[in-house]
């Protein structure tokens, strides 16, 4: 992508300028959620929706890349780095901390929807709501205290992922990282911006990325 002000070229995955006057500069990533409309609506009932101006023409609203997502094609230009530890078109949650990258594949997270991890010295919670195939990453600390989480199987609100922490037993809404019951009610974990991406694109941008494979039952 390019910016109008300087016509510098930017990598949209890395949010960094590659050529031009802004070369070397980086945009600050913000938390976003890649999810289904019904899940987003449950979490944010007053949310606005982007208009396309063509809502009345249903055929034009279809995503032109739907067959591409399902195919084995990896873009229109060959990648320089190829890493076959997982399927190239697998979705991963990509994370960069202290300029080091780590990827969490959806196939692993769907079997292990609550991951208490540590990366670059930071205690992280990686969650995955299977129903909507939505992932999120948080710093699993409240008031300086590190918490470990597990999935709660009862009392989940609106059938979305529910968790409890090992220190207070409070119940948490998994997708928002907010405690909804217990002594920590009202507290929210700090979200860590991450990028859902196809594996082939992520590893081509971050060739030395770590890859979370725990629970797959085999070393790669």
């Amino acid at each position: 992508m390019y910016d109008h002000q300087t016509e510098s070229l930017w990598s949209h995955l890395a949010g960094a300028a590659v050529t031009g006057p802004m070369k070397g500069e980086k945009l600050k990533p913000l938390q976003s959620m890649f999810t289904r409309w019904d899940t987003w609506r449950k979490l944010h009932s007053t949310s606005k929706v982007l208009s396309s101006g063509r809502e009345s023409f249903f055929s034009s609203m279809r995503d032109p890349y739907e067959s591409y997502y399902r195919s084995a094609d990896t873009g229109i230009i060959p990648t320089r780095v190829s890493d076959k530890r997982i399927y190239p078109k697998e979705y991963v949650l990509g994370l960069v901390l202290n300029e080091k990258a780590k990827a969490y594949p959806f196939s692993v997270l769907s079997r292990q929807p609550v991951v208490n991890d540590t990366f670059q010295g930071a205690p992280l919670l990686v969650i995955f709501d299977s129903e909507s195939a939505t992932g999120a990453i948080f710093k699993r600390q409240i008031d300086g205290k590190t918490l470990s989480f597990k999935q709660a199987h009862q009392g989940a609100e609106q059938r979305l992922l529910s968790l409890t922490d090992d220190v207070t037993g409070s119940r948490w809404q998994g997708l928002t990282g907010t405690a909804v019951q217990g002594s920590l009610k009202g507290k929210t974990l700090e979200p860590i911006p991450m990028t859902p991406s196809f594996w082939f694109g992520w590893v081509d941008h971050y060739p030395n990325t770590e890859l979370y494979l725990h629970g797959l039952g085999e070393k790669r």
Binding site: V18, P29, R36, R41, Y68, D204
Partner: protein, 97 residues
């Protein structure tokens, strides 16, 4: 132009901080389309969720919430524009796909 065709969702704020981490290789940039062949949205318009009758529950969206201001950007629309320049919760952001 684009160098890769793969969907990635990001919400980025337009303040610049120097950092590296990614292996960015300017010598590998290839122009495959003329500039603005896929036009970015510069002045997005929004409706409330009731107005989005054309959106089904299973449709994919990129959701952003900043300072209580929450917005959904349907992926099908993002695929036609790839970038939405918006201001959410007072912050200037770019939603890229």
């Amino acid at each position: 132009m684009k160098s890769f065709l793969f969907p990635v969702s990001l919400a980025l704020v337009l303040t610049v901080i120097p950092a590296t981490g990614a292996d960015l290789r300017p010598d590998e940039i290839v122009t495959v389309l003329p500039k603005d062949a896929i036009p970015a949205i510069l002045r997005p318009r929004f409706g409330d969720s009731k107005s989005a009758a054309w959106l089904s529950g299973r449709d994919l969206v990129v959701g952003v919430e900043l300072s209580g201001d929450s917005r959904a950007y349907p992926v099908a629309t993002l695929s036609h524009h790839e970038i939405v320049n918006d201001t959410v919760g007072g912050q200037p952001i770019a939603v890229t796909w």
